[in-house]
């Protein structure tokens, strides 16, 4: 907070121009520039929008590029927008001491994404949590079951069309 905030770079072109030496950007561009749908640099945080069907490979690429620590993963429900769900992955580099965010958009009609558990085993509980609370399932996950709610629960509580007080 004390540090001065760098200006916001709102689209892919300005991010690529504004952060020419960024290791995460370079790694993604070297791997597949098409998979990088958009980029944003806001409040000193870099967000890379990745095509949802390439997310596992993007994570593996970034892991090899030094972003070796999977910190967090969750979803945001933008109901009634289409595509509805935003998946946010936070990766940390213990070497660069820097964090980046990957974003992948998933549609309600086909809420399935590749699991990143082959890349980081630690994503296991996080993906189960998203499955439980948002109803997005992950292909290749070793144990895709509810984690917080009872197994026979109906609905996904963190969806925006699920009432805060629950169904009575």
């Amino acid at each position: 907070m004390a540090e001065a905030l760098k200006p916001t770079l709102a689209d892919k072109a300005s991010v690529l121009e504004g952060l020419p030496e960024h290791p995460a950007l370079n790694a993604i561009l070297a791997w597949d520039p098409v998979a990088l749908e958009d980029a944003r640099f806001d409040r000193n945080e870099l967000t890379l929008a990745i095509a949802a069907d390439r997310i596992r490979q993007a994570c593996a690429t970034l892991q090899a590029a030094g972003y070796n620590f999977f910190e967090d993963m969750t979803a945001v429900d933008w109901y009634p927008a289409v595509p509805r769900f935003q998946l946010s992955y936070h990766l940390l580099s213990l070497g660069y001491k820097e964090r980046i965010r990957l974003r992948a958009m998933v549609d309600e009609a086909h809420p399935t994404v590749e699991s990143i558990t082959p890349v980081w085993a630690g994503a296991n509980y996080y993906e189960r949590e998203v499955f439980d609370l948002f109803g997005i399932s992950f292909q290749g996950h070793p144990d895709m079951r509810r984690i917080m709610m009872p197994d026979d629960w109906v609905g996904h509580p963190l969806r925006k069309d699920y009432p805060v007080e629950g169904y009575r």
Partner: protein, 404 residues
């Protein structure tokens, strides 16, 4: 074979049905530190598989946050990790301040560091007492809770509440510290190093304690990173990483402290790392007391920070702002931020998404116990059931932050 009603049945692996047994540990078990249920597949006394079943304490705090104003979320954060409340307050406040691009005054930052370190000491003291008690060293519990009581009295003095402090607010602190507070902290801190020596005298040379911890619960550095383990267990696996030093927040870059690491990767290493961390926290508090700047403890942002009581009763403007904040909240510019801090148990992170209204669109908490629990099986496979108890104690989990 235990039949688990409504729960996944964990069957022994094919070909091992005559030898292996599945047993249930918890959710009401004194050694699981809360409502954690573990399903164990055992071969005699040896653990083959550990299956944590969580969610017993799930209260949907993330969903509740979406229905509250930004400032109303602060008390919810206390209740997630009830052993380290000020770190939660701090992390949430930092995240929202980042969204607002709001800078808090120097005194508030230093007080935040001081309170976060007291909170870390509180968390570590409970860990040490309960961990030793799990191992069978009942005495230490009484000693650590003696000091913990003093910390809780300090919390009560400054925030009016012993555990659910809600002291760190968006834009600063809720109140000026009382006049006797800093001298009381100084008096407490001056005696703490010898108290830590006392715990160390009770445990470090104790052959039973040593044998129960040394070589138990091995977690390699590669596994720790792959499983997302953070905090003292990560540093005890030889990874030199601490957000306070490496990605400083709230003015931590102005403090000198040493980050302890160990390459032993076992429960003993975690014990040693935490004990040194407690001594380092004392040093940080000492520096915070010595260099405490003068000035206000709230940012000059009348539309966000509640006015002082005095002003509210004498100035029309302040009264209006107070009314507006309480009834309508304050609007936060759209965007998303992730703020990580080093809490007592490891890296805590708040991911806050704003859509430009007065209520957060989404608040997600990354709490360190959640991924650390995943590492339990790696640490316990092939060991005795009694070692499991030692490992659960050494990773220091809080079920409130796992289930949220």
């Amino acid at each position: 074979m235990v039949q688990l009603a409504g729960m996944p049945t964990l069957e022994p692996a094919e070909g091992a049905r005559d030898q292996h047994m599945v047993i249930n540990m918890g959710p009401q078990h004194p050694a699981t530190h809360g409502v954690l249920r573990l399903v164990l597949e055992i071969d005699g006394e040896i653990i083959v598989r550990v299956y944590p079943e969580i969610g017993y304490l799930h209260t949907g705090i993330e969903k509740t946050c979406e229905a509250k104003f930004y400032q109303q979320v602060v008390p919810l954060t206390d209740r997630i990790n009830y052993l380290d409340p000020l770190s939660n307050n701090l992390c949430y406040a930092l995240a929202v301040e980042k969204l607002l691009n709001l800078e808090v005054p120097a005194k508030a930052q230093w007080m935040r560091v001081l309170m976060a370190e007291l909170s870390r000491l509180n968390s570590h003291l409970i860990w040490l007492g309960t961990h030793a008690m799990d191992i069978g060293a009942l005495t230490v519990f009484l000693y650590t809770f003696r000091e913990r009581e003093e910390i809780l009295r300090l919390f009560e003095d400054i925030a009016g509440q012993r555990m659910m402090t809600s002291y760190i607010r968006i834009g600063g602190l809720s109140l000026e510290p009382p006049l006797d507070f800093l001298p009381r902290v100084r008096a407490f801190i001056s005696t703490l190093p010898e108290k830590i020596d006392e715990y160390s005298n009770l445990l470090t040379g104790n052959p039973i304690f040593r044998n129960r911890l040394k070589g138990v619960g091995y977690l390699s550095a590669a596994d720790a990173i792959a499983l997302g383990v953070t905090g003292p267990p990560l540093r005890a696996s030889g990874i030199d990483f601490d957000l306070r030093r490496d990605m400083p927040y709230s003015g931590y870059e102005k403090f000198q402290f040493h980050v302890p690491i160990s390459n032993d990767c076992d429960c003993w290493a975690r014990y040693e790392v935490r004990l040194i961390e407690m001594r380092e926290s004392v040093k940080i508090i000492q520096q915070a007391l010595d260099g405490m700047p003068e000035g206000p403890v709230k940012a000059d942002a009348p539309k966000i920070v509640l006015p002082d009581r005095e002003k509210m009763k004498t100035q029309m403007e302040a009264l209006i702002h107070h009314f507006k904040i309480v009834t309508e909240g304050f609007e936060v510019p759209a965007g998303e931020v992730f703020q990580g801090i080093e809490a007592g148990h490891g890296q805590t992170g708040y991911y806050v998404v704003s859509d430009g209204t007065a209520k957060p669109y989404r608040v997600h908490m990354r709490y360190p116990s959640f991924p650390t629990l995943q590492a339990l099986e790696t640490m316990c496979k092939g060991r005795m059931i009694a070692d499991l108890v030692a490992v659960i104690g050494s990773i220091d989990i809080v079920l409130g932050e796992i289930d949220r």
